[in-house]
């Protein structure tokens, strides 16, 4: 059994909560006491039907206002897979939540109302999935029951979507499924109402889509997180570099370079909980020992000698701005990247992307909340990095406001 992490983006009325509710309910992940509590709340609120959104909208303010404020994480499992859903609200002002949910996802479900077809919101969600490089996208064309399960309607929406998606380079695996979340058509079981549809049900697709290739197993990267020095009698000379493999495969005997110092040595052993391993790959957490005693500390990166990452103080990146306070012109921020923090100054805003039309607006000086744009940064110390395209872990960063400590932006290095 492995894990599939997916996001669902959508607004209140496109059936997202109903869909999640159905996946949870049909996989027996909603419990009787939870359902009873939701029924009781729905009744008190005077809702006509049991409002499954109350399962995910757990905060008091959300329940009072009937809106989703924040990313909620939901869990269910089938005998094949464990699923983690990052359930994100889809309104335009919640771009930051969609970006947050998408940052850890392998797959995105984009809901389209069959009566409305491809609308701005569909494009927005697709753009974010593309930007965050979610490899698999499912376009779930919902409310098929309200268009008489029409193959023609379905085909028209599929054509519209594909025409639009051809402008998004990173969306390689797009699956379209006609569903009715309310009636359960093609959600868990194949529906009899749409004999013309030959593809899988949504759940079958989620259970079987291949996600083994998500991590980079080529470029060996090991950001050092913590140095383990027991100083006990038994392990007097033990000096282990603890961290999580961010890419590639490490084996004992591998020739490695430690950055930024550039010292070269070999991997001696790979330790995990009293055992030594033959290899370590992403995303395993292990501890490495090296042949030579070198001064290494948190924030350094151990890489294979023949395949180095980029090391530079000048970074170009796509960023999504999260804070209510807009980006300051030539503003200085703290940049957190892998296990390292450094200062960074914004040198330039190249352009802002209109996420509804995908048009690039140049001549912009600053980014405001929920804006996505391309910027140039200069860092105080060199960043040991790859492009986000090659490696999601060594190619991503967040910006932190040095005064408020707030996380103000998320970035993907170009």
């Amino acid at each position: 059994m492995d894990i599939l992490r997916f996001t669902t983006a959508g607004s209140v009325d496109d059936g997202k909560s109903t869909l999640i509710g159905r996946l949870l309910y049909d996989s027996k992940s909603i419990f009787e006491d939870q359902l009873a509590a939701v029924e009781e709340s729905s009744r008190r609120r005077g809702d006509a039907v049991v409002n499954l959104a109350l399962l995910t909208d757990g905060l008091k303010a959300e329940r009072e206002q009937g809106i989703t404020i924040d990313v909620a994480y939901r869990y269910f499992a089938t005998p094949r897979r464990k699923f983690i859903i990052a359930d994100t609200p889809g309104h335009v002002q919640y771009t930051r939540n969609m970006v947050t949910g998408a940052s850890t996802a392998n797959l995105a479900i984009i809901l389209v109302d069959a009566r409305k077809g491809v609308i701005e919101q569909t494009k927005r969600h697709s753009f974010i999935a593309d930007l965050l490089r979610i490899q698999h996208v499912v376009v779930a064309i919902n409310k098929m029951d309200l268009v008489d399960y029409s193959e023609e309607v379905y085909n028209r929406i599929v054509d519209d979507y594909k025409a639009f998606a051809s402008r998004l380079d990173n969306l390689v695996d797009i699956t379209t499924i006609p569903i009715s979340a309310l009636n359960g058509d093609n959600v868990v079981e194949k529906s009899d109402a749409m004999p013309w549809y030959q593809g899988p049900s949504l759940l079958y697709h989620l259970e079987t889509v291949y996600v083994g290739g998500e991590h980079n197993h080529v470029d060996a990267r090991f950001p050092v997180q913590w140095v383990i020095r027991p100083l006990s009698n038994e392990f007097h000379d033990f000096r282990g570099y603890a961290g999580r493999v961010a890419g590639g495969v490490f084996k004992p005997g591998d020739e490695v370079t430690v950055l930024p110092s550039g010292f070269q040595t070999k991997v001696k052993e790979i330790h995990f909980d009293g055992r030594t391993l033959n290899e370590a790959f992403a995303p395993q957490s292990v501890a490495l020992t090296l042949e030579n005693e070198i001064d290494i500390s948190r924030g350094d990166m151990i890489v294979k000698a023949n395949n180095p990452p980029k090391v530079s103080q000048d970074i170009e990146a796509m960023v999504c701005w999260f804070s209510q306070t807009p980006m300051a012109e030539r503003g200085k921020y703290i940049l957190r990247h892998t296990t390292r923090e450094t200062q960074a100054v914004v040198k330039d805003v190249r352009y802002l992307v209109d996420i509804n039309t995908l048009h690039k607006q140049e001549g912009i000086q600053s980014l405001a909340m929920n804006d996505i744009g391309r910027i140039v940064l200069r860092t105080a110390v060199p960043l040991i990095h790859d492009s986000y395209r090659r490696n999601r872990t060594t190619g991503s960063f967040v910006l932190i406001h040095p005064g408020t400590n707030e996380t103000v932006a998320g970035g993907m290095i170009l």
Binding site: I228, S285, R336
Partner: protein, 301 residues
Amino acid sequence: MPDYNLSHLDQLEAEAIFVLRETAAQFRKPALLFSGGKDSIVMAHLARKAFWPAKIPFPLVHVDTGHNFPETIAYRDAYVEKLGADLVVGSVQESIDKGRVVEEKGINASRNKLQTVTLLDTIEEHQFDACLGGGRRDEEKARAKERFFSHRDEFGQWDPKNQRPELWNLFNGRKHEGEHFRVFPLSNFTEMDVWLYIQREGIELPGLYFSHEREVFERNGSLLAVSEFVTVQPTEKIERKIVRFRTIGDATCTGAVESRASTLQDIIDEVAASRQTERGTRADDKRSETAMEDRKREGYF
């Protein structure tokens, strides 16, 4: 190319260890909140793995309500000794004696809520700047919105509407003087994952989790154990039943379930078939619709 896939338990383990190491690295004085319940036992087990062969570089902190099952305390002391870890105990009884909190009155009186004051006092006394908790997002709807690194202001309060976005595996633990963090390495574990992990790792648990015979009585739909900490009302009938506990908290608010599950495999089968959440046995969650959020806002676990 070989298949570099990790099983779901290996992925969850790697993630939790990463979070534990980040906590040790980013904070000056972290602590691990240890209740003697299965989640905190798993967390301590993961901490041992994260820093092997060194000792866990932070103490275990137990907030003792004084209303614990004796089995919990015995287990705690043995486990701490086995880990070779330091233990700090914050005592709710002491908070009461000092007049910091006032004991609740009435038959449903519980020290559950009082723990928050003792916890915050302990954090302040020892200057802990990050407290690792065993909370999971699947447990409760307010927890579903919790971050791995969750900020607390100088009063220990959680502001759920104003949380820092948490992307990839970049955790922002920056804070001002007097503020602290709660960190939840098991965020992505479900109850089932915890049980499967305990089974795989061969982790020993307190006997309370396994079926045993015990004197119980029913109150508000929960089966409470007869103990010196609860007053059984004349209308309540004491019976001997074969029970076990799905969660372990205070004897005053943790209900038992009738069960014959005596091995880990029995428990896993029972959890798989269960139609009630584990916190369904917790009277502390039933006080209101947003009981957990309300307590968390004030600084609860």
